[in-house]
Amino acid sequence: MADDGSVTTSAPRSAGATAAVRAYAQERIEWRALNIASIVFFAGAVAFGVAYGLKGDTFYLRLATEALIFGAVALSVDILLGFAGLLSLGQALYFGLGAYAGALVLKQVSESFWLVMGVSILVGVLSGLIGGLIAIRARGVYFALITYGLAQIVAKVIYNTRELGASDGITGIPIVNVSFGFWQTKADNPAGFFFVVLAVIAIIYLGLLYLSGTPFGRALSGVRINENRMPFLGYRPDRLKLAAFVLASTIASIAGGLYPMLRGFVSPELMYFDASTNAIVATMIGGTGTLIGPLYGSVILVFLKSMIGTITTHQIMVIGALFMIVVIFFPRGLLGYLREIVVARSRTKDGGGP
């Protein structure tokens, strides 16, 4: 074929650059905006932690810690939705399972932070495998509704299980001591625990950022865009989806493991639909497929909810309206737009398409 297909286009090719180089350049531009946003996020979080820690504040630090924990759940929603194109309406299930596992470990086995992390990873992987094997058979909206049903059922079972505290949940979870060898803190130290959680979230975030650039991450995008073609290339979309599902459930479960350390209790409500939708709203606010977006979204949502709860008793209405505004006017979310602007700028600089 003609070495230059440019009959169809007026765009001059950037001199000498190979397609791969140009493809990379474009991807870098897309990510640049997000990377700056993530640096701002984590730097801001550290500054906040230091400032409020010095101030001796409790409430806001603990609220921010909670926002980070829920942010991880939103991240897990983003892995499924933004990468594999699967909308999970039951992500709180894995959060809840991690939380229950953490609570039981702390109460009955050992007051060890590391053991809780290990167990919640294990619980996340196992429950993700089981849930995933069921859910990934379904596609599109069926997937959404299956995950929804799965979470409902398990929450109900726990609600009915006396050994797990039934509807009352589990209280009286001891305050753990978190030790990194060189530094240690207790879960009831607002600033200390904030930094512990921040570190965990940062590790998760960086891990996902790395994954998004690997062939695995790209294959997930392939599943999202055209699952049907994947097997003809030699991929197994079911395996890829399962891997994404397990990854997401594990992250949600880790976040769950942190929760009882912060709040000292667990209850079936942690797995309810509301909790799952909050994670989705946070993801949508921040921007699906952006990874850092859900963390922003979670912070915004948690603080917003904390505020409107005081102002009005119609928070449901406010959240509902927020939902609709985001979906209609900002379907790409905060960072989605940021990315778009940056990309558009770079496009106009290069001269654009035909």
């Binding site: 009959v7 169809t8 286009t9 007026s10 558009a344 496009r347 654009g352 398409g353 035909p354």
Partner: protein
């Protein structure tokens, strides 16, 4: 009949149509040719009202139709056979076909039945398969259905985008025969076709398109213009 003036359209960042000018007179068959991606389909879609982001003017019998809803455009007497067939998957062959009857309002039941019958006569294969779901037809059969579906209406202007794509030679012959017949019945046709040689048999006027513009217009029956066209699109 159809008059396009300085038509522009954009898909996101790309400026696809960059000032198309095209005129079509009643009963005339105009061929629109060009390499892949020059904007032939986009032009058709703009006329049919599938693309909303356009500027410039498209008038049909003196009425501005740019920006009208597709169904309003259809009701004015413009029929469209799109390049990718667009058979409705959940409808049977017959239901697909019957839907075409909607194009022309105010016909009696008998007239509609006759229109269906004529379509089945043109494509007996469709008659054999009439209860099958539309998208389980083979590629070629779907193409026949797409054409038949528009023919059951009584449209004065037909936009036909690559009608012979994927058809066996035998059927290709039939399709050209049908188009010739349509022309003789007084239908105006805007035809996009890659099989230029065959298309030239029925076109009255020919246009070559490149980079979103019509770069050449000529008489379909003049050998000089034909040669120029071939040269223009075979860059």
């Amino acid at each position: 009949m159809l008059e396009i003036r300085d038509l522009h359209s954009h898909y996101g960042f790309s400026h696809v149509l960059q000032g198309v000018n095209l005129t079509l007179r009643p009963g005339e068959c105009v061929g629109l040719f060009g390499r892949n991606g020059v904007g032939k389909t986009t032009t058709m879609r703009a006329i049919a009202g599938w693309i909303k982001q356009i500027s410039g003017s498209i008038t049909y019998n003196g009425q501005e139709i740019g920006g009208l809803a597709s169904n309003a455009i259809c009701r004015l007497g413009i029929g469209f056979v799109p390049e990718d067939r667009r058979i409705f998957p959940g409808l049977t062959v017959e239901e697909n076909l019957k839907l075409g009857l909607m194009q022309t309002a105010g016909r009696s039941g008998a007239q509609e039945a006759a229109a269906l019958e004529r379509a089945y006569d043109l494509f007996p294969r469709l008659k054999q398969r009439y209860r099958q779901m539309g998208t389980t037809l083979s590629g070629g059969e779907q193409q026949m259905l797409a054409i038949a579906r528009v023919l059951v209406g009584d449209q004065k202007l037909l936009l036909i985008d690559e009608p012979t794509e994927g058809l066996a030679p035998q059927i290709v012959d039939e399709i050209f025969a049908i188009m010739r017949k349509l022309k003789s019945e007084g239908h105006a046709i805007l035809l996009v076709e890659q099989n230029v040689k065959r298309a030239l048999d029925i076109t009255d006027r020919i246009c070559a398109m490149e980079r979103g513009r019509i770069i050449l217009e000529g008489d379909g029956n003049s050998q000089a213009d034909r040669d120029a066209l071939m040269k223009a699109i075979a860059v």
